[in-house]
Each structure stands twice: as C-alpha cells, then as structure tokens.
Point group: C2
Chain length 492, copies 2
C-alpha cells in the first residue's frame, strides 16, 4: 500500500546542503574514466529494472497511466542508461582533438594544443508530468548529465512525488554501491525549491521538460542570474502532419487511422502528439469521426493537466474558424477525444491562435483546396519538435515541403507518426523556440550528453599532467581528431 | 587619404531591409554543398589579402595599431577563412549520424533516423575594438557563421567604422563574385542599430566580442526576446598566471620577462592579457620594475578604451591592498605600463575587487608565502578564458592546480603565455561566465562553427529527398557515425 502522506517541500537550507554536496562530488565524479561511469550507469539500470515491482504500481497510482505503459517506459529508461554507457565506452562523445606543435603552421608557430569536453558541474533536472520514468527522475536529462560526469539534483514533478522519491532512492543506492561519490544524486521537492535551485550559485545547468509558460519562466530566471547558466527547456509543439493529395488518394483511410491512434495515444499527452493534420478538403472524414467518437475515455495525468486541456480545448472549440467534429468530454474514467476542423485559408489567417499546443486528446483537421497552401502553412510554423509529411514518391510538393519543415523542426518524418520517439544515436528531440529554449541541442538520443559538457584546451601541458583522454598513445583508445584528421581507435 | 566624414547610423528601415535580405538568402546559402561554401571562403580570403594595401592603412589610422600588427592580423584573418574552408571540405563538422532501421533495437523497433547539423539562419556579429580584422568584420564570428551556412550582418565597431565599411565591401563583392546569394553579408552602424538587430525577428543568433557590461546587456536582450536566440558573448578575463616556487627558483628572471612582454603586448589590449601573476613573495622584482618603467608608451585604441583603462587602473591603484610598483601614465604617444603588487592573503580577502579585468597595460603581481595559497586563489576564480601554470616537472602543487583551473578556464597553459591565441582544431577560446556568456562554445578554432548549427533528424525519409550528406553510399564522402560506429571516408 502506498503511503498517502504528502512529501514536504525541501527547505532552503536542505536545498543548499544538497547542491553543496553535489558540487563537492563533481570533481571526483567528473574525473572518473568514461568506462567507470559507464559501469555506474549500468548498475543504475539494473537496480531500476530490479525495482520494477515496487516502482510500476506507484507510477500507475500517481500518473493514472496503465501498467503496460509504465513497464514499457521503465524499460525505455533503463535501455537509455545502458545505451549511454555504451557511448561512454566508445568515447567519441569527448570530442578529443590533438594538435601537436607545428612551427610551420600558417598563422605562425603553433603550440601543442589538446581539446576535450569536461563536465559542467551540478545539473538541476525538472521532471515531466507525462513520462514519470523516461523524462523524470532517472530519465533522459538525468542519464545525459550523469553520463557527462555531472551530479544531478532532480526537482520532483508534483504529479508523481512518491515515484520520484522511490526512484531516487533506488538510483542513489545503486550509484553509491557502484562507487560514485556521495552527493552525486538527489531529489528535491516544491515549486519554490525549483526556482531556488535554478538560481543557486552551485547549479551549473538546468534540464527541463514541460509547458511553455513553465519553461519560459525558468529560462528567464537562468538568464537573469549574476552568472547565467545553460537552460535546456523542452516545451511545446503542435507537430503538424501534411498529407498530400496523392497520399490521401492512395491510402487516406490508413492515414486517418494512424492519425487517430497517434493523437489519442496516452490520451494525447505527448509533446510529439500530432495537433494538426492537413488533408485535401474533399477527404472523407466519416470513418475518422465515427472512430474518434467511439474511442473510450482515457484518464489525464492529473487535475492540473485536465484543467489545462479543458481550457485550451475550449479555446479551440470556441474559435470562430473551427467546427467541432467530435466533442470530447470529461467523464468518470477520463476524457474522450475531441476532433475539430477548419480550412487552410482560416488556418493561415489565424495561425497564431490555432497553431498553439493543446496538451491532451484534441486535434485539428485542416482541409486544403490547393497544395500551395501546404507550403504556405509550413512557412507560418513556429519551432516544432516534429513535422511530418505523408506523400507518394516523387511528388514535387513533398520536395518543396521538406526544406521548409527542416528550417522549423528538429525532426522531419515521412509517412509515419511523431509519437514514440526512439532513443538512438541519430535522434533529435528538439527544435527552434518554442519547441525548446536551446535550439542547438536534443533531449533524446545519445547526443543529449553534449548539453552538459564544455570544451577545455590544454596548451603545452606535459604528458603526465594531461587527462588520459588527450595523452599521446591514446591510452583510452578513443576516436580522436589528430592534426585535423579523424582517427578511429584500433579496436574499431 | 581617408575620408573623414562620419558614417551615419543605419536606420531602422535599412536594418529591416538588410535582415530581410539575409533571411531570404539563408535557404540557398545553407543548402550549398560544404565544398561550394569552402570555395567562397577561399575567394573571400584571397580578396582580403589582395586588398591589404587599402585596408591596412585604414586599420592603422582608426585603431592606432602599428602596421606590422595590422598586416599580421589580416594574415590571421585570411588564414582562418582558409582553415574553415578546409573544415568544410573534410565535412566532419556536419556530425552526420545514420541509424538504419532495426527491428531488434532494445527499446522497440527503430525507424531509419539520420541526423546532421544545419545552419541557424542570419547571424548578427558585433566586432571588437582591439582586433579590427581578426575579431571584426571578416573575423572569427563571421568566418564561423559563413562556414556554417549562415548569412552575416556585422554591427561595425565604432572604433573602426571605415575599416568595417571597406572590409565589408571587399567581402561582399568577393562572396557575390564567387556565387553566393545576394544578402548573405552586410555591415550596419550604430549602437541602437545593434540593439535592434539583436531583437529583430529575422536574427537567429548573435556573436559578440567586447566588454562584460556590453556583452551582458546584449545577452539579456537576446534572452528577453519573444523567441530567445543563442547569444555568444566573449567578454572579459583576468588570465591568472601561477608560478611555483621551483619555477621561480629555476627561471624567475625569464618568467618575469615573459610576463612583462605578455601583459604589455598590444598595450595590454588583449582579452588574454595576464592581469595577475602569482610568484613567491621573495621573488626579486627589481629588474621587472626597471624594465616596466623603461617601456615606451603605446597608444590605446581610442579615447573610450583609454578612459576605461584609466578608471579601472585608478581603482586598482587606490585599492588599500595594493602597492604601486610602476605607475603608468598617459602621455602624448600613449600609455606606459602600470605594475601593482599585493600579497596572496590580501588577494584572497579582496578577490572580487582585485580579480576584475583591467583592459590595457596594467597588471598585478601577487606575492605568496605558501604554495597552498596558489590552490586557494585558483579556487576563488570566476570563469576565465585562460589560466597558466609555470612549474617544474613532477611538482605536486602543479598537479593539484591543473584540475582546479580546468574547472574555471577554457584554456589551461603550461610554461607559456596566454596572449597570441592560435587558430587550430583543438583551440578553445571560451570559458565559464564572465569569460563568455555561453560556456559550451569557443569563438576561436574550427569548432567555433558549431555555434551556428543545430541538429535535424530525418525519420524514414526516402533517399532521393534526403540531403546528400545523410544519403546511403555517402556521396559527399564525409566522416559519419553509422549505427553507432564512426566511419572515416575512403579518401582517408
């Protein structure tokens, strides 16, 4: 049985203690060999997997997500920790670059200069409501920061505080047992605690997943510090889907079915939920409407998410340019989907109002009369996490859409659906503002580690005083760029 | 003869026109093959070299820097453009990563995902007073942004407006003649124009080199935008130098001579000028004092820099913890060096007041009684562009200093001097705030290009619609990471 007592907010003194301990742990943790930290990440993954029986029921109870989803998400979380461990073992993430002394260098004699990436220091992570495992306590930001060699202080999401506490306990114990220094991981509680953590002098960077207003407020705090720090906010997205005339003709029913599944997955509570679908105006929507109307209600994560969805859904329903196809409603077991409709001309006229995220099971179908309107709509988009094209091969409009979408989105998909972000080497889960506050980075995929590293160059430092990564003879067997030329290690 | 009429400030309408043109040029310029942009950078370098006879005298007149320095700096500038062209030809900067579809991927079937870096869009560059070529109109920020594929709008430094105009004209013509789209480069004028440019909706990123107050004000503007953008400010640094007892004993006179040369180089107007030198308290300083007192006066860049130096030098002179060894003064031909002295205990007590940059030919010698004080002083440092250790081999204190300095500086030097930053693959010219506003990046060296690129991933996009860089068969012959494994191209 779950304890039902509330977890009290972390006090200012406790937070200071936690961040001071994190800063004290940073040098030793950051100085570990990548392979040593890899072993710690694997130990953490094993411990979390072993604790599934305890953690999954807490996640279900706090997030109202079904058991299979919670189990799958925990699996994604531990897979991610192990994949990042593999990245540490390979070592290319250190971006080691060695320029040996060169008296004939074109701008004058060059000293010996050796560059590598080093950890930033303590990272504060704000967990997300909608992924109690994969974007929370032991999620992507935590895994990235630990992999980079940064201690982590998680500000628990109020939607799943008990899970944060228990996940944190498992992670803390596993890291300690694997030899990590004390202070390398902690969980703190409370909204004001979060703001204090962003402003705390020991905090070196912040990872955040959540709403645009929440992310923007914390971004502004981080930028306002006497010493500003990197703030990585992954926020909102409409994730538009463009269906060409030929694609609609060839497989319209299949596309509409995929769309319904994607925008209602997890009750629409994904930052990659397709919030807008553009189809030819004569596309028959009867089956889509019937299927949407027939979907069972699904619970939203918590009362706050439900209220936010109701408010935004209401704005879309009330907007003079939209027509309601299916009106979702809140029942005892949750929300049923809402499906709205407008046309491309209206969307172009009201794009600011209509192309704003609605977090939850609501989406907007946009009928277009002319494929030129697809390109025009693409040109009005703000920054997006994803943008998707459904088209047939060799369609000129698709070739025109892709570059416009590339300018505006972090991930461009073809004949697929944006929900279900895979954790891979090549994945980007990011994009221009307001998709994120930091357009250069991703919060999913192995390059997410790069957010918590900075370059340092050693000039003419003797071999024995250099970090192993940049020494002659490549003792860590890393991929390195030597005198401008990329060298892969012997082990290949 | 130089024209002496002032260049009027760019009007708001003109700025809007320039940035609209830059944004219009961005897609075509960004879509060029790296090798095509490399040819444009080389053409720009050739044109600037060919214009040396015109440009160098303007630089001398406007900056009061000697001819040899101006010629050398122009050479550095064109070398940099050509080195960045080589980086484009090699192509590793695109960070191409290909994950092919994998049904057995650990977290569930993996789609085909292909990542590369793409340009951000128009970049506004604020040139520096002290490097009229290398950190100004055609300098490092401009070269980085153009290499990345971003149009550039330079806000001319008021210290050398005519040089900005003429350099801009040479660069604009060379880029146009080499086939770059119109609008890809422009120069604008005026302080208010600079602020407007940072806030302009078409601006995608900003590069800045200058003072802490100036950089911080523009950083805050960039962060305050409705859509915040990356701001790369390279600002101030004290560049401390730590001399161990053994090093002072072995080669004290040589070290003090190197120090004097380094802190008076270019009249101390380098962001890498050593502003603090820590030596054993019994180090004889007579020769240093005599040599400093004997140095000829050198002109400062302009009246504003001279006034800033006089003010900060006055604060250091008046500080109760300092003693004046040599009092520099402004004469008809410029300033003579100022040398101050304090002890380590006083420095630790007053580190905030004493460890603030003084831009110009002033530096502070700190006598220490115990090498522990070196470690303590290192621990009080704010972010630095550089930190230097002079030591003998196998000294324990050096091994303790290096990690502490690595946490606080972008470049750590051994038995050398920080002035004269080489442009290489491994160079970092950056560091924690206030050295820069963006601790993850460098403004010198080939990885400076990374500041103006963002990742995009293509998911399941057909080969013929993908950018060449990420297609099967590697048609651009790039280094790529394929399914997690780094592959160097055939050409090797």
């Amino acid at each position: 049985m779950l304890e039902r007592t509330a977890i009290p907010d972390t006090t200012e003194a406790e937070l200071d203690h936690v961040l001071t301990a994190a800063a004290a742990a940073a040098p030793a943790f950051g100085a570990l060999r990548p392979g040593e930290r890899a072993a710690m990440l694997r130990a953490a993954a094993d411990a979390l997997d072993a604790a599934a029986g305890e953690l999954v029921p807490i996640a279900q109870a706090e997030s109202r997500l079904p058991e299979a989803r919670c189990r799958g998400e925990l699996g994604r979380t531990t897979f991610q920790l192990r994949l990042f461990a593999d990245v540490l073992d390979e070592g290319g993430y250190l971006e080691v670059t060695v320029d040996t002394a060169d008296p004939d260098w074109g701008m004058g004699p060059r000293p010996d200069v050796r560059r590598m990436l080093v950890p930033l220091g303590p990272v504060v992570v704000f967990g997300a409501s909608n992924f109690p495992f994969a974007f929370s306590t032991a999620g992507g930001d935590t895994a990235s920061a630990l992999a980079a060699g940064c201690p982590v202080v998680v500000k628990a999401h109020p939607g799943h505080p008990r899970l944060a506490e228990r996940t944190g306990a498992v992670l803390t114990r596993a890291l300690r047992d694997a030899g990590a220094p004390d202070g390398v991981f902690a969980v703190v509680y409370g909204e004001e605690t979060g703001r204090r953590a962003v402003l705390h002098p020991r905090t070196a960077a912040v990872g955040f997943t959540g709403s645009i207003p929440g992310g923007r407020a914390l971004h502004d705090l981080a930028a306002s510090r006497p010493h500003p720090i990197p703030f990585y906010g992954e926020m909102g997205s409409v994730n538009p889907v463009f269906v060409t005339r030929a694609a609609a003709a060839a497989r319209g029913a299949e596309i509409l079915g995929g769309y319904l599944d994607s925008f209602t997955l997890g009750a629409g509570q994904f930052c990659t939920k397709p919030g807008v679908l553009l189809v030819p105006e004569d596309t028959p929507l009867d089956d889509l409407v019937a299927n949407a109307a027939g979907r069972a209600a699904a619970p939203l994560l918590n009362a706050r998410v439900a209220a936010g969805h109701a408010a935004r859904q209401g704005e879309l329903v009330d907007h003079p340019a939209t027509e309601v196809l299916v009106l979702g409603a809140a029942g005892e077991t949750g929300w049923t989907p809402t499906l709205l409709r407008t046309d491309a001309e209206a969307l172009l006229a009201h794009h600011e109002a209509l192309l704003e995220e609605c977090f939850g099971p609501t989406s907007l179908v946009v009928g277009y009369s002319d494929e030129e309107q697809l390109v025009a709509v693409a040109g009005t988009l703000q920054g997006q996490l994803t943008a998707t094209v459904h088209a047939e091969p060799a369609e000129p409009v698709a070739a025109r859409l892709l570059p416009v979408l590339t300018e505006r989105a972090g991930r461009v998909l073809w004949n697929g659906w944006p929900t279900g972000v895979s954790v891979t080497h090549a994945m980007t889960h990011g994009g221009p503002y307001p998709a994120t506050t930091s357009v250069l980075h991703t919060s999913v995929g192995t390059t997410a580690i790069r957010r918590f590293l900075r370059p340092v160059s050693y000039q003419s430092v003797p071999q024995e005083l250099l970090p192993e990564a940049v020494r002659d003879g490549n003792p860590l067997d890393l991929p390195r760029r030597v005198n401008g030329r990329l060298e892969t290690p012997r082990r290949g």
